[in-house]
């Protein structure tokens, strides 16, 4: 308890760059920081620098809609995210930082026969892997969310839902800060406002990076730069099967508790939750064109508002306070690209689409293991970049119509 009142720095001020590190992590978001954290914690590797071109958590880590869940469609995905949820459940205690993980439960609504089939597919895969996930009908939906419009006289009547009790929302910034503190306390350096401008290689293996603050030599480089993955990997001449899109969200003014479960409608491309502060946090699908310009659009607000009110007409007079935008790497099969590349010592965490935040702890754990042992952990073997050359895609596409 004494820590509550004692003012103690979360992390040291940025130091000078050293000429050499064992591992350089590009990207100070949840993936980069988590990887650094587990390198130190699980493997004792601490001669590590996390380089962030802006402030920590400035990218997707601080812009996502904070949903954590494991109810994926593919066994590979579900197994992977199951581990992630388990790690998230313990993470607050592990980091000694309350991440305000609110496991309210997660409902993916089905508005059509096809929607029910997709929900069933996911529930079946989940149950076989021991993930709490099932298809429920309107009566049970009404119990979980009495406020939702479950009548038939709406455009898209709710027919059923995939219910995932352990799905939840978490304070995303806290995840960043908790990891950053853990990383810093284990001696790893965090370098905000440090941009990587080149990746040096010799004979097909990484030897260092160039930055706006000078060169660094290192044996391993990890790119964990959602949205900018293509540009970072270009520096190592590693092509990626990725396009970059914007994803938007908004919050409303804070209201008294109204909604105690996370609602996702893939048919209507909207997801809605209410934070512990009382704001409604609402998002939609990625914009269909590729762009690096993270600007917010007005049609998104109209679209998301229209669909929110289809489900919750009571929110008509609730006011939107703030909208924002983040960049997403989208891969052809909506599954991540994780692990080794053809450049020795250069690993990636990319292609997360809209799912990256949910995976931070397990990405950190597995990438750290890869760096420490040189072997790709079985859990992430299906997600290697190599799969696009061998035509062994891991398709979350059917479930990805929107599921946050």
């Amino acid at each position: 308890m004494k820590d509550i009142f004692r003012v103690r720095r979360m992390w040291r001020p940025r130091s000078e760059l050293k000429p050499r590190y064992d591992v350089v992590i590009v990207g100070g978001g949840t993936h980069g920081l988590a990887t650094a954290y587990y390198l130190a914690k699980n493997h004792g590797i601490t001669n590590v620098a996390v380089l962030e071109k802006s402030y920590i958590g400035s990218g997707a880590a601080g812009r996502n809609t904070t949903i954590i869940r494991a109810n994926y469609r593919t066994p590979e995905g579900a197994e992977f995210y199951k581990k992630s949820v388990e790690l998230y459940e313990e993470l607050g205690a592990d980091l000694d930082f309350n991440l305000l993980f609110s496991q309210q439960g997660h409902l993916t609504l089905a508005h059509s026969d096809r929607g029910i089939i997709t929900a069933t597919e996911r529930a079946e895969v989940n149950q076989l892997l021991g993930i709490d996930s099932r298809v429920i009908g309107r009566d049970e939906i009404r119990e979980l969310c009495p406020e939702m419009d479950l009548s038939d006289d709406v455009t898209w009547p709710v027919m059923a839902a995939l219910y995932h009790p352990r799905g939840g929302i978490i304070r995303h910034d806290a995840v960043v800060w908790g990891y950053a503190r853990g990383v810093d306390r284990r001696g790893i350096e965090i370098h905000p406002y440090t941009e990587v401008t080149g990746i040096d290689r010799e004979n097909g293996r990484v030897t260092g990076v160039q930055t706006n603050r000078g060169p660094i030599s290192c044996g391993t480089v990890i790119s964990a730069t959602a949205g900018w993955s293509t540009l970072v990997c270009d520096l190592a001449d590693v092509p990626l099967p990725i396009t970059t899109h914007i994803l938007q969200a908004f919050v409303t003014e804070p209201m008294k508790p109204f909604l105690d479960v996370i609602i996702v409608s893939s048919q209507m491309h909207v997801y809605i939750s209410q934070t512990d502060r009382g704001e409604f946090l609402i998002g939609a699908e990625i914009e269909p064109y590729t762009t690096y310009r993270g600007t917010s659009t007005f049609p998104f607000l109209e679209f998301a508002a229209r669909h929110t009110l289809e489900l919750f007409p009571q929110l008509e007079r609730v006011k939107v306070l703030r909208q924002w935008t983040g960049l997403c790497d989208v891969s052809p099969d909506y599954s991540p690209i994780l692990g080794k590349t053809e450049v020795e010592g250069f690993h990636v965490s990319a292609g997360w689409g809209t799912y990256g935040f949910k995976a931070a702890p397990i990405v950190g754990t597995t990438l750290a293991e890869l760096v420490a042992t040189g072997d790709t952990p079985a859990l992430i073997q299906p997600f290697e970049l190599e799969r696009f050359y061998t035509d062994t895609l891991v398709s979350e596409v059917a479930a990805a119509a929107v599921s946050h």
Binding site: L240, T243, E287, T290
Partner: protein, 83 residues
Amino acid sequence: MSFLLACPNCGPRDVNEFHCQGEVTIRPKASPSRRELSEYLYFRRNVAGVQREWWYHRMGCEAWFLAERDTRTNEVLSTELPE
């Protein structure tokens, strides 16, 4: 209403009237190897800069055309019907 795009037939219109097919890719000429085929099917340059891309005027003249757009600013530099 995001950025505007000048349809070669209809003139400047809101981006939401269009469908974006993504960057122009080069289709292999002969029987490609598995690797060449994968590169064509999945891998994209995804440039931060001027990109040549396919657009379709879905809510308009229903024509496909090519645009040069800067993906850093969404500024559309030119549009043209395919030759």
